[in-house]
């Protein structure tokens, strides 16, 4: 059963995640959202998603893995060994918190987005 939370609780929850130095990066949040949608993605897919170089993407994934938001594994496929990045339970919590925050923002259509700062 989902607990009902007040608006400020939902915002606070997501703001707390954004306080994590690991998530103070649009690229990493983008990776987490995409993994939230798919469960897991290959390294090539993440390269295409982010448009980053291999080194830069590896860096971001390493930081996410060190913080426990993703898990990296290597799998043998028909086209050879592939690096797979899978979202963890903690990563899913961030994704779900993001969705709840968006849901709240939708309910406040008349106010401008720029009035809200989730992290200074």
């Amino acid at each position: 059963m989902a607990e009902s939370k007040t608006k400020s609780e939902v915002f606070q929850e997501f703001s707390k995640y954004l306080e994590d130095p690991c998530l103070r990066s649009t690229a990493r949040i983008l990776i987490l959202i995409s993994l939230g949608l798919n469960g897991k993605l290959g390294f090539t897919d993440l390269l295409r998603l982010t448009g980053l170089g291999k080194g830069s993407l590896s860096n971001h994934i390493e930081k996410l893995e060190d913080s426990g938001y993703v898990r990296v594994s290597r799998r043998l496929t028909f086209s050879g060994w592939r690096v797979l990045v899978e979202i963890t339970e903690d990563g899913l919590k961030v994704y779900n918190s993001y969705l709840k925050t968006l849901e709240l923002l939708l309910s406040q259509k008349e106010e401008k987005d720029d009035e809200y700062y989730l992290f200074d």
Binding site: L18, R24, T26, I29, L30, I33, S34, G36, L37, N38, D45, R48, L49, G51, Y98, L99, T101, L102, E103, L105, L106, K109, D113, D114, Y116, Y117, L118, F119
Partner: protein, 209 residues
């Protein structure tokens, strides 16, 4: 971080997800095209297999393909959820339990009804198949709220056409001709699979902007 920035990130993920979904649907079309082809050809190639044997084979193939369909529909559902939140538009919601019950009933109707109630088999099966065509169109619309890709329209139209004409033929007493229609559907679905792979690259280009 401003809220508008967070929304922008969400849109970028959503645009890229359309590419992933279109690619997943390519496998979906191919798997069902192959399944329908097996359904049509196994009795012809292996006439010695009895009704029960065919029933078991069909159920097994149907379950495997259905499980894969579930994987594609789960991706679609998650995309639809995020799309609805970012766009503020109401999106279709398909109940997962209804989905599963429907597919199980479909596989049982095809396999069980077809081989054990021969007099009414084509009528029952084609009625079910028309509902499947409608369900597919609804699922595609929900998967691609911005607009169903051409290959999706081709797949659902060819399926619906074969089911409708098959129903008409079974009423007129020419049910055996419906096999030809379903070979046509198989060709359309393999074509849809190819187009889905090819055109998913367009989504990849669009997601970069």
């Amino acid at each position: 971080m401003q809220v508008s920035e967070l929304k922008q990130i969400g849109w970028k993920a959503l645009m890229y997800q359309r590419y992933i979904l279109r690619r997943a649907y390519a496998y979906y079309y191919a798997s069902w095209a192959f399944t329908i082809l097996l359904y049509l050809t196994i009795p012809l190639v292996f006439p010695q297999i009895g009704n029960f044997g065919l029933f078991v084979i069909y159920i097994t193939i149907g379950i495997i393909t259905t499980l894969f369909s579930g994987y594609v529909f789960r991706k679609a559902r998650r995309r639809r959820e995020l799309y609805g939140l970012l766009s503020g538009k109401r999106t279709y919601k398909l109940n997962l339990v209804v989905l599963i019950v429907w597919w199980v009933a479909f596989i049982l109707a095809i396999d069980f009804g077809y081989y054990y109630f021969r007099n009414a088999d084509y009528l029952i099966v084609n009625l079910f198949l028309i509902f499947i065509a409608i369900f597919l169109a609804v699922q595609l619309r929900a998967s691609f709220p911005e607009g169903i890709p051409f290959e999706g329209l081709l797949a659902s139209f060819s399926f619906g056409l074969s089911a409708s004409l098959g129903l008409l033929l079974s009423i007129l007493g020419f049910s055996s001709f419906s096999t030809v229609l379903w070979f046509f559907t198989v060709v359309c679905w393999f074509l849809s699979s190819y187009l889905s792979f090819e055109r998913s690259q367009e989504e990849l280009e669009l997601s970069r902007y």
